[in-house]
Symmetry: D2
Subunit: 313 residues, 4 copies
């Protein structure tokens, strides 16, 4: 089972080239927290901007920096079935524990539920590592309907779903249809609290790259039934969570990570870094979170100690 | 405060003409349950298909059939500010307790947050009854952003929001910004459980017209902290809830109400009633819910007794 | 047949109330040109912001100001079949020659081609004046597919289509399916030239309210085979045409009309007038057109004489 | 200048593997007509489903089969600037004459006009062969606005635009802003007639793979001023043109090519071939076109002789 909080790792670049040294340092710093593992080469990892060889390097570097016993998910979805199968094999060879497979993003009008069932079935039949489905229709075009997820959940090599639809009714519908040992994790930080209470087992959220201890704390508050604290923390992290995804995307996430003390890096072209105004806005959000939690977040790279019990009261 | 479950009443027609007798009987039957009030002339009430004079009749008939102490919300949103103000006055004259004001649905490209702020401000300045905002961007086009809701919540005559965006992160964001005495109710049955746990105070959901006691039970399970029962019931009602909204719309809701024992009525043209196959599908969903809850739902018009404590176990 | 150029009349307001005097003056001025008739109460006439009684006044005032022999189309589409039928009767009583019937804009998911066929059939069966269909899916939600238009074109009381889809392949497809005496007019000024060459018989375009003689000239250039002049004029008017529709909407159209010498009026609330910067931008576009055509357009109210044969060379 | 009609070549697969033999035979057959050149590795060439090495093979095979003097465009757009630059170099090495560069399809919310200007500028600065822009917002997400195209048209290594927006007003707007030696070709067969009359110089349309002589004939009718014949032929080919793009996509195009006598091939997984019913529908459309033109089209592989002058009368 995928349980807990997983950061969708950024991919660092120096002069527009992959920088595995910065990646290793980033992963090492993140892994000092209670994060349950990582996702390498997800959308936040600029996977669409990476060559297959670079993806191998990223997965290998990540694998080496993650302690044993924690999951290393690798994004392996491509547009053809053939390329997706190849990517799963390469990810397995590079040490990934799970293949996170987004649907094809081209020819989306023809990505019917039947076509998606066949595609994922063929991928799962041959992948050396367990497959995790990925649903985010606003970004990928194709939509994994709840009955499709339920059908695929019967495949012994399909073990979970990352759902970033943002639609809690849909997530709840999926959970009602899949077995208990099928992991559903969500990808929208603003719904972590509601999703965990609805039966998901974890989250893959960009904010876990920036304030990993707070993302873990929110998860643990819900798991231990401290709902009042959980709801307060959920509301408190939401503005920063939106800023590093919806509003400013990968560039915003990388800028916030630099502020938080992780290695700094620009996105790859054609993506551009955010300007100084956005950096100021992000710093102000981090300061607000510092005030709310009573803890140092800026420049600490996640070494910020436990949130006090009074948080949010 | 708007607390509890409110059915968005159907508007009955006989030979395509408004039938206030059937409406009175429907409301009377619904009010035998613990529903907290009603919404007249909402989208599910086919408000877009009613003349202003018919709307007056619907609100008056509804008002007469609702016991004192329960809220009678009336949909009063029109496309011009002038017509919306007039509709609020007429609703107040007809006995409504609150005006539910959808945004203009035309010229939506020009419905900026500033224009919406000004529009709602003018309406609230003159409405004799408190105004409840209404957000459902997928249907109305205009989108009430969270800061806009927060700004309008400062107006003393704007007391709440019905949010049917289906986006729990957005609902949570709104709740983080409004005062405690500002009521946020949601309009998507599949997220009742998650929304109530996130701080909303109630729901206006089509399924409350069909199985009012179950909708109330779900609300009460959450309010009393019986989360396990609540989640099980939430999942159980979801398929029927989708069928009477997303899949089959008002026609599906009216067919399900007829099966449940409420007065039967067709939608107004150009809307068409559902066919016999859909009726069979709805009956089968009701039977499934009867099996789950151990209670009679078909033909009972809401007189189906308390759900047993074992439900969902 | 609807042949030529028709302005979609603005509806003037003074202090947010309908001003029929300004309307009469506007129509009278426009009718001094070779415009083929008018459309009252279209989308550009803020029809969504008018009460039924106001619509009657607008149609009557317009009818009185339009010379005999020119068409007076009136927008009569409502969301219910019943209200649409009533609106057609009222428009006929007020002197309209044709009813322009937009599809229902609510419950659009249920506006299947079958439902639209039945709706328009019922309306045409009872309308005392000929019906013109109206297609603009981006605004109305419902989409009149080409086979649906072809089916409705067989009804003896359905005589034409206004298509504002902007999709020339779709317009061409419709023309291939309808009889020669079925009028297809388009509503996008930027495609007048291409549409007329593809077989349409005219246009209903906002720019005909601002520079009526140029819109008529473009039509006549195409009709008389002066394609080089037509294309040059088409390109020249496009920026202003976009500004008074897509970019600034009704408010922009009203501001441009005021600059062009027609009676000035604000849009009705919640629509707001454009600011001084937009007025400057519109004035500069009119000046550019004056330079291109060698004619006075600002302040002339359409009395700007014939475009010289050298235009565009 | 890109003048005339260019087929967006299919990429043949045998057992899901690239089959360059079938590709060579297909190109050779197509080049027996007056097509002006070809596009290799466009969307219709399933470029999203090909590896970089396969793309090299496709371009080389195509180059070898196209007579000197005709253009060989190659699709080289990738999501990162870096990969796009590399793809342009490889295409040049493989013998392409032009690089057709689609915009990035990921992170589309951040593909502002400024980012697109910078991206295309960097690509054009380094591409060994001239760059052709590609606009199709419904498929690619990013939208190349007319001022952006005009700005990029000033770059000496950007020589044209393929526009598949389907929006003739937009195409006309672009043409009004670019120099005369900048080629604008369209990608929607249903608007060939209107676009050519509006100033475009050619088309890249899927139907040119199926009935190349008719696509060329339509082009030549317009160029030689036979507008009546052109319009009749435009309307006649539209149903088949829609079937092999919008309705059935690449699978439909490949099935229609097989019927027309070109080498048969399935699309690559996850795309599925069309079923027998669609094949029947396509055959019937081809028969209808045979009746209209008085020429054999089924099984002729483009060797169907000149369309008689009576066509469409």
């Amino acid at each position: 089972m995928l349980r807990g909080v997983f950061p969708p790792l950024p991919t660092p670049f120096t002069d527009d080239e992959l920088d595995t040294g910065l990646l290793r340092d980033t992963v090492t710093a993140l892994m000092r927290t209670r994060l349950a593992g990582v996702l390498a080469c997800g959308t936040n990892g600029e996977s669409f901007l990476l060559d297959p060889e670079e993806i191998d390097q990223v997965v290998r570097t990540t694998r080496d920096a993650v302690p044993d016993g924690r999951a290393v998910l690798a994004g392996t979805g491509c547009d053809s079935t053939r390329a997706t199968i190849a990517a799963c094999r390469r990810a397995a060879d590079s040490g990934a524990t799970h293949a996170l497979v987004r649907p094809p993003v081209s020819y989306t009008r023809f990505m019917t539920q039947d076509v998606l069932l066949a595609h994922y079935g063929r991928v799962a039949d041959t992948s050396p590592i367990p497959v995790v489905l990925y649903n985010q229709p606003a970004v990928f075009g194709a939509d994994l309907a709840a009955p499709t997820v339920a059908g695929l959940a019967r495949h012994e090599n399909i073990v979970g779903l990352k759902d970033s639809s943002g639609n809690i009714a849909h997530v709840s519908d999926v959970l009602a249809r899949v077995p208990d040992d099928f992991s559903v994790v969500t990808g929208v930080a603003g719904m972590m609290y509601a999703a965990l209470l609805s039966g998901t087992s974890g989250s893959v959220v960009a904010i876990a790259n920036v304030v990993p201890t707070l993302a873990v704390q929110l998860y643990e508050f819900v798991i231990t039934g401290q709902l009042h604290h959980a709801l307060a923390l959920q509301r408190a992290i939401a503005p920063l969570a939106r800023a590093v995804t919806i509003t400013h995307g990968v560039a915003g996430m990388k800028a916030a990570m630099a502020l938080a003390g992780f290695p700094a890096s620009s996105p790859r072209l054609p993506l551009e870094p955010v300007g100084p105004q956005v950096v100021d806005e992000l710093r102000s959000m981090l300061r607000h979170l510092e005030a709310f939690t009573g803890r140092a977040l800026i420049g600490t790279a996640g070494q910020d100690g436990p949130v006090s019990g009074e948080a949010g009261d």
